[in-house]
Symmetry: C2
Subunit: 369 residues, 2 copies
Amino acid sequence: MAEAADGGTHLSGSVLIIGTGLLGTSIGLGLRARGLDVVLSDLSPSTEAVARDIGAGRLLRSVEAAFAPSLVVVAAPPDVTASLAAAALKDWPDAVVVDIASVKSAVLTDLRSSGADLSRYVGTHPMAGREKSGPVAARAELFNGMPWVICAPEEATPNAVRRAEAMAYDLGAVVSRMSAEDHDASVALTSHLPQVMASLVASRLQETPSQSLALSGNGLRDVTRIAASDPNLWVQILSGNAGRLVPILHGVREDLNRLIRTLEDPVADGARLDMAQLIAEGNVGQARIPGKHGGPAQSFVSFTVLVDDTPGQIARLLTEIGEIGVNLEDLRLEHSSGRQVGRAEISVLPGRVNDLVSELSARGWKVVQ
Amino acid sequence: MAEAADGGTHLSGSVLIIGTGLLGTSIGLGLRARGLDVVLSDLSPSTEAVARDIGAGRLLRSVEAAFAPSLVVVAAPPDVTASLAAAALKDWPDAVVVDIASVKSAVLTDLRSSGADLSRYVGTHPMAGREKSGPVAARAELFNGMPWVICAPEEATPNAVRRAEAMAYDLGAVVSRMSAEDHDASVALTSHLPQVMASLVASRLQETPSQSLALSGNGLRDVTRIAASDPNLWVQILSGNAGRLVPILHGVREDLNRLIRTLEDPVADGARLDMAQLIAEGNVGQARIPGKHGGPAQSFVSFTVLVDDTPGQIARLLTEIGEIGVNLEDLRLEHSSGRQVGRAEISVLPGRVNDLVSELSARGWKVVQ
């Protein structure tokens, strides 16, 4: 591996990718873009052919006899990850083997039971792109700026860990380290619980008459956005992290039971206090979520500007915000049906919001709230 | 009332606003901007003074003896809305009285019990701005392009209904009609259920160690966004719509129980099928939510463009999208901590996405997924 100017290390040698779905193919494209030799393998000959055709690498079944990867990436579904990793550790005795499954302890436990040599194994989890699937949607830059968690088992050598980190670094990711247990506890709360709750809400809408959905607003859209997820993949993730998710869901169920009891008799003593407590506790919890920049929670405040619903006017708004010299944290657009006006929700640092609102108003923009 | 060019009617005469919080004061500002005479009244002398000071109207305690509003808007919390509306119907025998509470049947039921003359009463619900509160945050354009539901009881005269609709129309809202029962059933599902579920998730985070929150992503942020809500207001809303919300929560609880059972024994027969079914049902329900334009559900597809994290480059991206001639449905920004790259998620009509992606790529933009 080579040292990068900013202290990260770069990958060298050949990389074998087992599993050429969205993530595996994107890894191939990204590493090929860095000039590395990438070899691809997938259970499905047509899937690996597509990945090769779009430039993610060359096929394992066509490699020279002397082929010896320095890194093997198991990019298959969680259910089959451990067995593929164990096989790879055996088949490629000079390679570091990494996986990219969303759950880490289950894979590690299975690997330990298999008796494989874990000094060359490093569990990882790239937190990027799940809405689409398959090699055709793959992109070299999928991981740019996205978190990639390295969960090295105790058995792994420092060299193996460095090689895993170099891969993530070379793909443009923001690399962090965590134990498999801490990782699984964290994603149970920050990823798997929200997924479950989004699906619980969305499934209520299956047979709702359309007129009842007419008043749908951004609250419903936000809560159910991640309900558009792949059932097959999520069954594997939820099963794989069941041990950590179940206690969390027990707690949610208790809170839900308490809320239902108070709603069944909303005039009973203490009922209102109970309800208020749930909402207030939600305030506290929500405020603890880190800001998008990875900075402190709720670092930003937002206001809304009314715009003609054209990209031209929205672009002009952003240009003026840039001229005023304030950095944009977030921009969300909302359109109205029928009144020809759009709303741009702007989020900026609290210390700049008053200046920005005054300046935009002075320039003729209609600022709301 | 006067006819507008597009067939809506305009309000005339004086308007009395009872309750000068965010919504009442915004209504005052909006109607003053249309040249109407607005009179304000609030339980709190300082609150109504602030509303007057920012230009929302003149104070009731200073009006001439002959003052006679054509419209009274009760803009107070749900708990006190019915009694204020009943009093207003008595005090102002020539006025139409409207309210703006988030729950409609409870108010109507209480009004009927009070024996008030409901021929001049129209329940309404403007679906706008709740994050901030109080008169200082009020804006004349708060309702521009936002939905305003008119829930006229059977007793209301056509004239009364027209006057209520004229108010909403003059405030720039998109007016629709619905019975109080249908309204409450609809918001129970599309507003109150998501609020409850967001709070249930967010309250789990109260005592989570910070490192566990480090992997928080947009899934968690989306699901918990509306958890930052006012407990006092929401207790009134949930209590007021308890009858419709409880059956929905019973259904959610059943689904949650079933999920917990399968996660407690994920290898049992049928466990995986059960889990997959929940996610798949969530897919179906989520797809039924209307698109932001009020058009068919899921009318748009999205892709991500990598950008330098500056308003200048984002503005240039939007300008070029405008030049290419494609309308923007949504734009969401995401920043990365540490790698100096931002991601702009663009949503457009499915029929235009391929052209747009090719054109942007040809112009040098890095399109991901």
